[in-house]
């Protein structure tokens, strides 16, 4: 008797490579958007702290929207909005823009907290010693404030790394999307989803442990 035609093929070595490549894409989009988002978010945080009237009426509510609307909605919305204003962005670029803004919105609050953590007397002392406003920010506020909020920043960064899985809705083949494709083909969902989970865990867990350890050390 002839063997029946099979539409599925089993999980093989080249599939591991496929997943590794997808994992690399997850890393790329997360690292770029976390870096850009942190720079942008720190600037926003400084603006929020300085509290000019327009920054409190404009920036704070706008950043709040990014935190009150599900990321997946933001992604779909932006992906469909970009062509309307004449931008031709692919899934990666759209995902990058949205993730960067999302990171910036979360980091802004963290950065504001960091600046607030530096006492006013400390800053007055710095200015009295003859440091300019920018020198005070660079040599006094940044080292102290960054240390105070580093654990929260790590939390945000890990959150974005995990949320980058959502860019798959736009068709960007990152780790979770790749495992979905493989699940459809090999019909071995448990094995493949476990590999994907293990990758995220392996990336996120050591970083969160390291940051918890640092936090413990600094708080003493």
């Amino acid at each position: 008797m002839e063997t029946p035609i099979s539409f599925f093929s089993s999980f093989g070595f080249q599939d591991v490579l496929f997943m590794a490549e997808a994992a690399w894409r997850t890393l790329i989009i997360s690292v770029i958007s976390i870096s850009l988002g942190t720079l942008l978010g720190a600037t926003f945080g400084w603006m929020l702290y300085e509290g000019r009237i327009w920054s409190t009426i404009v920036i704070a509510p706008v950043l709040d929207v990014f935190r009150s609307v599900p990321l997946i909605i933001q992604l779909v919305l932006f992906y469909n909005f970009a062509p309307i204003v004449g931008l031709n962005l692919d899934a990666f670029e759209s995902g990058l823009v949205v993730l960067t803004l999302y990171t910036a919105a979360l980091v802004a609050n963290v950065a504001r907290g960091g600046i607030e953590a530096v006492g006013v007397p400390m800053r007055r002392a710095a200015r009295s010693l003859g440091l300019s406003y920018w020198q005070d920010l660079r040599y006094v506020v940044f080292p102290i404030g960054a240390r105070a909020v580093f654990p929260s920043w790590v939390g945000v960064a890990l959150g974005v790394l995990k949320d980058s899985a959502l860019v798959s809705v736009l068709g960007y083949v990152e780790l979770l999307r790749a495992s979905q494709i493989l699940m459809t083909r090999t019909q071995e969902p448990l094995l493949i989803i476990s590999i994907a989970g293990a990758f995220y865990f392996a990336l996120s867990y050591p970083i969160s442990r390291y940051s918890a350890k640092l936090e413990k050390g600094w708080s003493q």
């Binding site: 009150s68 990321l71 919305l77 062509p83 969902p189 989803i193």
Partner: protein, 220 residues
């Protein structure tokens, strides 16, 4: 460049359906939160008191929930469990995924809460003749819930936002319903813009309600 015609009328026509779906969003988020609080309490008590296999089970649950994407957790309940012959309905997938995630995050909050309650409370309650169960349910847990009230509110907001992932497993809550209508009418941008607005209002409503509730509950 700007030659896109917005068509809002289909969106307004299906607005009642979207609002009904947002009730579904609230329902699944609230239910997952109630279950998450109960399981989270159990997990944190286990982690603080028991050693052995139970301790490792609780630790594994918490660390997996915190170090993998929520979408992965949903996929695990959706596709992964299929390998054991368990096929959950979309509603159950979202509920199970959100509960798993909530329980993990809340357990960490509760642990901090339990550590913030003075040890003497336990000793005082026990020496008054209360059993261990009575001490936990009448003395410790009420204090812990009060300490972690604001983190719990945040988690509820996260649960509402995370429930939007239901869209990807075929659950017709607000996002799923939005996608359904959007793909039927091709007015993707308009539909998702309205969905974003509804989510924003939902989140603001939850935050306001929790603040009012706190003012009522925490009056000494």
């Amino acid at each position: 460049m700007f030659d896109y015609n917005f068509h809002w009328s289909p969106v307004f026509k299906s607005l009642p359906d979207l609002l009904a779906a947002s009730l579904m969003t609230l329902q699944v988020a609230a239910l997952s939160m109630v279950l998450g609080v109960l399981i989270g309490l159990a997990l944190s008590v286990i982690r603080l008191t028991v050693r052995g296999p139970l301790y490792w089970f609780a630790t594994a649950w918490i660390e997996t929930a915190r170090n993998t994407p929520a979408l992965f957790q949903l996929f695990f309940f959706g596709f992964g469990l299929g390998a054991f012959g368990w096929h959950l309905s979309p509603y159950m997938i979202v509920l199970a995924g959100l509960t798993f995630n909530n329980a993990g995050y809340l357990a960490e909050n509760f642990r901090g809460g339990f550590q913030a309650v003075p040890e003497t409370q336990m000793r005082a309650a026990r020496s008054l003749g209360m059993s261990l169960w009575q001490t936990y349910t009448r003395i410790l847990v009420p204090q812990v819930l009060r300490i972690v009230y604001y983190p719990m509110t945040n988690q509820l907001v996260w649960a509402v936002l995370m429930s939007s992932l239901g869209m990807l497993v075929g659950f017709r809550e607000l996002s799923g319903e939005t996608q359904f209508f959007a793909s039927r009418t091709y007015r993707v941008f308009e539909y998702f813009a309205i969905a974003a607005l509804i989510y924003y209002v939902l989140v603001k409503f939850i935050l306001m309600a929790s603040r009012l509730l706190a003012a009522k509950l925490f009056r000494y």
